[in-house]
């Protein structure tokens, strides 16, 4: 890594700090200023003013907002994200880390599936453009894409579990074969987008002069396509993969709800509905850090693939 790139990365990383702080203040204020009271939600019908008051003291909700926030940040720097009011003595990290693992595991499988299918499909569609196969293939994946997840997540279990008996629906962990169905349900709609992006990219690159030059040099068609067209056409894919990373950790709400998967999306929904302050805050912070990091990763990856960008970066752009 050149010194310029290192400096660039460090600068970018430093910039994430104010971004994260701004996000945390915003979310903190939004949560605290909302009319809901987590103690109300916690005690439910058993609400008693005295107990509620003691619980507010215990969780520090009785203190002024800025003190609450500073206390939160102070704990944050000690690696303490707070405690879940919904799950009693479970710390936020304990609540969300297992869920992140589940969603991330499924997300990685989904990414492999989406890009593993989408890229070859897109390349093929570009290579056969003009023939009937091109619209047929893209059309087929668009059809899949247009089935909403809340439909396929209901139809797929009926089809593959009840009618065909290929899978079970009990959740047995992210490495168990039962996870295949939900992963397919959440991934297949994404294939069309990747395929179309790849197709457009391949077509665009095919028209570049250096491709013509390569052909003119008498290189074999295979070499031209693989080394010159596809490699360069993959560039936008890097952005696409990078940008889809945080989304994967975020999980897919419908899939997690309808397949009952204990992932981050289901936990987020529960945390928001139950006003589990610290958990919501922890989740949002986690998501923002991930998003910022993914963007930096994309930039670095660009540098490796396209030297022109690296040079610009080294110059301090």
């Amino acid at each position: 890594m050149s010194q310029g790139l290192a400096g660039y990365v460090i600068r970018r990383l430093l910039w994430t700090v104010p971004v994260i702080i701004a996000i945390s203040i915003l979310v903190f204020l939004l949560l605290r200023l909302a009319p809901q009271d987590p103690i109300d939600s916690l005690l439910g019908q058993r609400y008693d003013e005295e107990i509620a008051e003691r619980l507010r003291q215990k969780y520090g909700y009785d203190r002024p907002l800025h003190i609450q926030y500073l206390k939160y940040v102070q704990n944050l720097f000690q690696g303490d994200l707070g405690v879940s009011t919904k799950h009693g003595d479970f710390s936020v990290a304990e609540v969300i880390i297992p869920k992140i693992r589940v969603s991330a595991g499924m997300g990685i499988m989904a990414i492999v599936l989406v890009f593993g299918l989408g890229i070859p499909v897109g390349v093929y569609a570009a290579l056969v453009r003009g023939s009937f196969l091109d619209p047929l293939i893209i059309g087929f994946w668009l059809l899949i894409d247009s089935i909403p997840v809340f439909v396929s997540a209901v139809v797929a279990p009926w089809l593959f579990a009840l009618q065909l008996g290929w899978v079970d629906l009990t959740y047995e962990g992210v490495l168990h074969p039962n996870i295949i169905l939900p992963v397919f349900v959440m991934s297949l709609p994404g294939v069309a987008g990747v395929a179309r992006l790849m197709r457009a990219s391949v077509i665009q690159v095919s028209n570049e002069e250096y491709v013509r030059t390569a052909r003119a040099k008498g290189l074999r068609e295979r070499t031209v396509v693989v080394s010159h067209v596809v490699r360069n056409a993959l560039l936008p894919m890097i952005t696409a993969i990078g940008l889809s990373l945080p989304g994967l950790f975020a999980g897919s709400l419908f899939v997690e709800l309808l397949f009952g998967i204990p992932g981050i999306a289901r936990e987020s929904l529960q945390a928001v509905l139950g006003f589990d302050f610290d958990v919501v805050l922890g989740l949002v912070l986690f998501g923002s850090v991930l998003f910022v990091l993914a963007n930096i990763l994309i930039d670095i990856a660009y540098g490796f693939i396209d030297p022109r960008i690296r040079i610009t970066a080294a110059r301090g752009g």
Binding site: H87, P120, Y124, L127, A161, L169, E172, F259
Partner: protein, 575 residues
């Protein structure tokens, strides 16, 4: 295109796509594609390979399954019960629990002096017997000498005293201790920080405990069956004050094997349980996974709920699920509450008119497929002390219109808002039906408003609603838990503002009467008076609609929190 390799690769992908598409179309057009499958059913796993069966039970090949009759093998081949559950709302600390689903698990893990049997009668648990003296003021409990915690430590009267004092300790914020144990002398003092111990709880000797009450309430033993009175292990709590609830050392029939929030809770038997150890090897509460009824059909779970869309078919006997159907009346009621201090519902005639104007029978038939029970009273039919003689206002639109015409607000009806707890979207169908029926019978336009749950509870406490939709589930099986809690002018759960001297007198008298029959008669009188005054309109008693595999024996749902899984047996013989 001259590039052969790439072309071939792409061709293979295209072929795969086409293959998937063809299968899709075939299956969709074929409908019951799985039925023609004639491969033999998977053999029942015997006890020798049970462990293997557990490990790879879901990697079973697809063709081992067929749709209909799977009593041999499958989920009925193992001596473990797989059922569903809700994610616990709190940790397994008996004094923190206020919701039914967490209480259900806790009741299996812990125990108290007394417990309930499946008929909802109070029966001995840690206490072998008890004497009631001083006109009902003093309870002396004689403890069994063979009760142990899960770790083998013997339970003594000191443990019971510690547990009760821990519940009342102000540092522990128990939301339920005053409701259930507040009648013990000294509990309030301890809870308010005015005393270090509960003066009304005395250890007489190692196995004798004396509890003194401020009032000789006759439902004290019922209250003692609630989780807040369960016995906990002082040593464990003091050793690990923050994390002991993950593997609580209770005295109940089951121990916690695993608890993964949003995933599953697995309980395993306490083999030394003094009332008879459980018969299954494991109880799995599945908190995750796909649709319950699909998994039930797919032989992955023993117990499920009937989904709303299937209910009509299941009830009519036409569904293939009908043979597994088990309706279970719950100890709960839905009702519409009025603020009896605000116009227009400060006039009883308006409330009565509203009650007469709704046709609950029609709503039950059309909207609920007759799957609920029209509440002809407040106390549910399965509650001890239920009285058939009590009746509610029947559907009578003419009478309703007459009553309204006689009321103070006949010509000057203020704006009326009915609030329910919920999110966006349309209000529940039944509320819209009431709205329509009020409009037709009374010419009154009622607006319906949704409000988020915690705000709903807060406004309910403050009494700001004019009219609201609510429900109540019994905490313990006694009429007091409905009538005393909801309608006594002294109860903090009385959200209607209802106050009737005669009702208060009856409730107070009934609370301390020893003779159960006479006591129930007082409650019946109070119940009818309340219904006549109409601070609420009882609408429906609820029924839970279960699906239960036939190999599960002694499965019952008593409708309230009762330790019940130790009775269950799985018939693995495949009959």
């Amino acid at each position: 295109m001259s590039n052969r390799t790439l072309g071939l690769m792409m061709g293979a992908v295209a072929l795969l796509i086409v293959a998937v598409a063809v299968v899709f179309v075939l299956v969709l057009s074929g409908g019951d594609g799985g039925d023609g499958d004639d491969t033999p059913a998977r053999p029942a796993s015997d006890s020798a390979d049970r462990d293997d069966a557990t490990d790879d039970r879901s990697t079973q090949e697809a063709d081992d399954r067929d749709d209909g009759d799977r009593t041999t093998g499958g989920i009925c081949g193992e001596n473990r019960l797989v059922t569903f559950g809700d994610d616990p709302a709190t940790v397994f600390d008996p004094i923190q629990i206020g919701d039914a689903s967490t209480a259900e698990y806790t009741a299996e893990i812990f125990g108290g002096l007394v417990t309930l049997n499946l008929d909802l009668e109070v029966v001995p648990d840690i206490a072998e017997r008890w004497e009631i003296t001083d006109g009902g003021h003093v309870y002396t409990f004689f403890l069994r000498d063979d009760v142990v915690f899960h770790n083998g430590r013997r339970v003594t009267a000191e443990d019971v005293k510690y547990s009760l004092e821990r519940a009342a300790d102000p540092a522990n914020f128990s939301p339920t201790v005053l409701d259930y144990l507040g009648d013990i002398v000294g509990v309030r003092d301890k809870f308010n920080g005015r005393a270090d111990d509960i003066s009304g709880v005395q250890v007489v000797d190692e196995y004798t405990l004396r509890i003194e009450l401020t009032e000789p309430i006759s439902y004290f033993l019922q209250q003692l069956t609630y989780t807040v009175a369960y016995v906990v292990d002082r040593e464990q709590i003091e050793d690990d004050p923050n994390n002991w609830t993950r593997r609580p050392n209770g005295t109940g029939p089951f121990r916690v094997k695993t608890f993964r929030p949003l995933e599953e809770i697995v309980l395993i038997p306490n083999d030394r349980y003094h009332l008879g150890p459980p018969k299954v090897d494991e109880v799995v509460f599945s908190l995750s996974g796909g649709s319950l009824s699909t998994r039930f059909q797919n032989d992955e779970i023993h117990v499920a709920l009937v989904p709303a869309v299937e209910l009509a078919g299941v009830l009519s006997g036409e569904s293939e699920l009908s043979e597994f159907y088990r309706p279970v009346p719950q100890l709960s009621i839905f009702y519409l509450g009025f603020n009896v201090n605000e116009p227009p519902f400060d006039d009883p005639l308006v409330r009565q008119a509203f009650a007469h104007a709704i046709n609950r029978e029609a709503i039950n038939e059309v909207l609920f497929f007759d799957a609920a029970v029209v509440a002809d009273g407040i106390l549910p039919p399965t509650l001890p002390g239920y009285a058939e003689a009590v009746t509610t206002y029947p559907y009578d639109p003419e009478r309703a219109a007459e009553l309204l015409a006689q009321s103070r607000y006949a010509d000057d009806m203020p704006r009326i808002i009915l609030t329910f707890s919920g999110g966006g979207g349309d209000p529940p169908d039944n509320l819209q039906a009431y709205q329509q029926q009020w409009r037709e019978a009374l010419g009154v336009e009622v607006e319906i408003e949704a409000i988020e749950w915690s705000a709903y509870l807060r406004e309910l406490r403050r009494g700001t609603f004019q009219m609201y939709s609510a429900g109540w589930i019994a905490d313990y099986p006694d009429p007091e838990n409905f009538l005393g809690k909801l309608f006594s002018s002294e109860s903090r759960l009385n959200h209607t503002g209802y106050e009737n001297e005669r009702v208060d007198a009856l409730l107070n008298e009934a609370a301390t009467l020893g003779d159960q029959e006479a006591r129930f008669r007082l409650y019946h009188e109070a119940e009818q008076l309340i219904i006549d005054d109409a601070p609420i309109i009882p609408t429906f008693w609820t029924i839970s609609h279960y699906l239960v595999r036939e190999c599960v024996q002694n499965w019952v749902d008593p409708g309230t929190i009762v330790p019940k899984y130790r009775y269950i047996e799985i018939d693995t013989s495949g009959e």
